[in-house]
Symmetry: C2
Subunit: 396 residues, 2 copies
């Protein structure tokens, strides 16, 4: 295999009609992205670092050359990565993945594409190198505000009831509901959104063209036709335990906040919650009877992760309210002016239900009472905070 | 009425056999305490300040004099207090309260008595001026560690089940269970302790001799014969809404920690929880179904008061574990050496169930990782912390 394997001709052939409107350079770039998706497992930090350092195509040419790879990590790490990748360096597999994608109306979206959800970039070197989208990829950028409603497959009637309530409440507030398409809580949340005519996005651990679980074939088709079914692994790929865990980071990253409705003590949803916490995204958990094993993971989040206790739609709306509208601005917090950052912290600390005193808000924001007072004045003028006899509340 | 009304003769006559072994000075002092209990409502801060400034007897003589009272507050506050007290300045009522107490084997315990629970002094000018104890007052000082298990009268079967579990678990750990003697959660907790042969203390809003509620007459008698039934109002006094609220501060103050098992959105238990938080005592809440109105107050504590989520006996033991043993030392934290305070913070941050990393402990304690590490070394030597593969845990 030589560098020319990844040339313009091969790229145009594999991409087929998708390359029709593309310049040569764009064509090989998309082809390289598809190739990386086939070659590297989700969340492969060495691949991410290599692509970040050399670009998709150059990195691809590097790893398919015969020489010892040197690049972004120590020699041993690079050698191990190369060993992982080598069996998958197969232009035929890339062409097949693209064919399957076209056949199932699954689009390839790359960082830099208009439809690329920038929220995923918060994952750094662990960000996906591309995503495959069944449905309209526009939904990925119209996704804000969004909330991940996730939980156990082995949900109880109680948990599914709450998932439905929360999901329907999000639709009525124009919030996109992100979940994992699984049985139990995920499915209850997706279905409630579909019934209410809202926007929901399913992130799968296998290919976006594969209905997994099979019992959710119809539901996933409905999601694809009104929202989007998304995966970072190519079409035709089977889900594995690793891919489920990595998929969870995408759920957390794509959402402004994550709430776990029911989860056992060692549920995979806690992994999603951990990603949300690591990304600094608000994390909530719905309590349940302490006698219910299906709520044990949620209580663990409340005890050990300082998750917010979510009891109703309003609590969830409060939690994500702060992210709505100014989410993009909030992302690049380094670029945010201090005054705006302070205003956002004050706004975040306000509740739409419980009036809060200046002292309480100062404690919650870590600002002085006079700073809080100043920010509240501006927020009040903007209609985003309001005064009541008992204290300050969220307005607007 | 003249100052001589509160002289030695009156005091000896009212105290009866209780004065037999007392010096004159002690006699009038006890008599004055009983009089204050009759005259001032629970938590009367003006009375507390006056007694603190002038002593029980002198303060009593001041308020029963005819002149305008000047003392510890502005003239208007003092005049209003005097107006409140005047109708109750009645040596006959004091003598009657003492007679009723003797008849119901209810003892009068004063600050300074060996049986006085110093924990109550944390209430400052709102500390009770005395307490009336039906049962053995020794239990009030052998009370540590102790936990208040409180909650709604309108409890569900779920709530009562959890209250029983927690209370029985406390007995097996030699923890005294404090509660309010009410129907619902309080009663379930008290009864579980009685069944398990543990120590429980009921704090009543009315006189310690009155069984309130009447349906708990037998239970309160059982508590009095093995533990103690305590009130700050004199025997024969009926409970009122105000006295319930003030009684709640005694529950919180007498306990090293407070856990609310079930509570409606506006339950009186939240008042107890508020007192515990104000006193800086650990506060826990048991979650329940978000669909249960009986758990709404608990979820409110989790959301708004940063209450700890209590799901099992171990969680509760963790929460009060830190107070056990070194509670007295912990009280006067100003007098505590910084090294001891740091060690206690580290010990408090350890869990007996979940191993925690140095970084996590540093975050929880607000200490540097190296400080945490140093304290852990000492705690490990003392057998109070132990190392596991996944991190540090509480030991001993």
């Amino acid at each position: 295999m030589t560098p020319s394997t990844w040339g313009v001709r091969e790229a145009r052939s594999a991409l087929g009609p998708w390359a029709d409107d593309l310049e040569d350079e764009e064509t090989v770039d998309r082809y390289a992205a598809a190739a990386w998706s086939v070659i590297a497992e989700p969340g492969d930090g060495v691949a991410g670092a290599l692509v970040a350092a050399f670009g998709r195509l150059e990195a691809l040419r590097m790893i398919t050359g015969d020489g010892l790879l040197t690049g972004v990590a120590d020699a041993r790490t690079m050698a191990r990565a190369q060993e992982r990748w080598r069996p998958r360096i197969d232009p035929g597999a890339v062409a097949a993945a693209l064919r399957t994608a076209r056949a199932s109306a699954t689009r390839l979206i790359l960082p830099g594409d208009r439809e690329w959800p920038e929220a995923l970039d918060d994952l750094g070197v662990h960000a996906p190198l591309c995503v495959w989208v069944r449905g309209d990829p526009e939904h990925l950028v119209a996704v804000r505000p969004s909330v991940a409603i996730v939980g156990a497959r082995a949900a109880t009637a109680y948990g599914e009831h709450i998932a439905v309530e929360l999901a329907a409440g999000m639709v009525s507030r124009d919030v996109t509901v992100v979940s994992g398409g699984a049985y139990g809580i995920d499915g209850a949340a997706h279905r409630a959104v579909l019934r209410a005519g809202g926007l929901t996005i399913a992130l799968l651990a296998g290919g976006a063209d594969r209905a997994y679980p099979a019992g959710h074939t119809g539901m996933l088709a409905d999601i694809a036709s009104t929202g989007a079914v998304v995966s970072e692994v190519p079409c035709g790929t089977a889900p594995t335990r690793w891919r489920f865990l990595q998929r969870n980071r995408l759920i957390a990253a794509l959402s402004d906040a994550t709430v776990v409705v029911e989860a056992g003590w060692r549920s995979g949803s806690l992994n999603t919650a951990g990603h949300a916490a690591a990304l600094g995204r608000p994390l909530g958990a719905v309590p349940g009877p302490v006698t219910s094993a299906a709520s044990a993971g949620c209580h663990r989040l409340l005890r050990e992760y300082d998750a917010e206790c979510i009891t109703a739609v309003d609590d969830l709306a409060d939690m994500i309210g702060a992210c709505a509208g100014d989410a993009r601005a909030g992302r690049g917090s380094a670029a945010e002016a201090p005054a705006e950052a302070d205003a956002r912290r004050v706004r975040d600390a306000l509740s739409s239900r419980s009036p809060r005193s200046l002292a309480d808000l100062a404690r919650r924001t870590g600002l002085s009472e006079s700073d809080v007072s100043g920010r509240l004045g501006v927020l009040e003028l903007e209609g985003r905070a309001r005064r009541s006899a008992e204290g300050w509340m969220r307005g607007g």
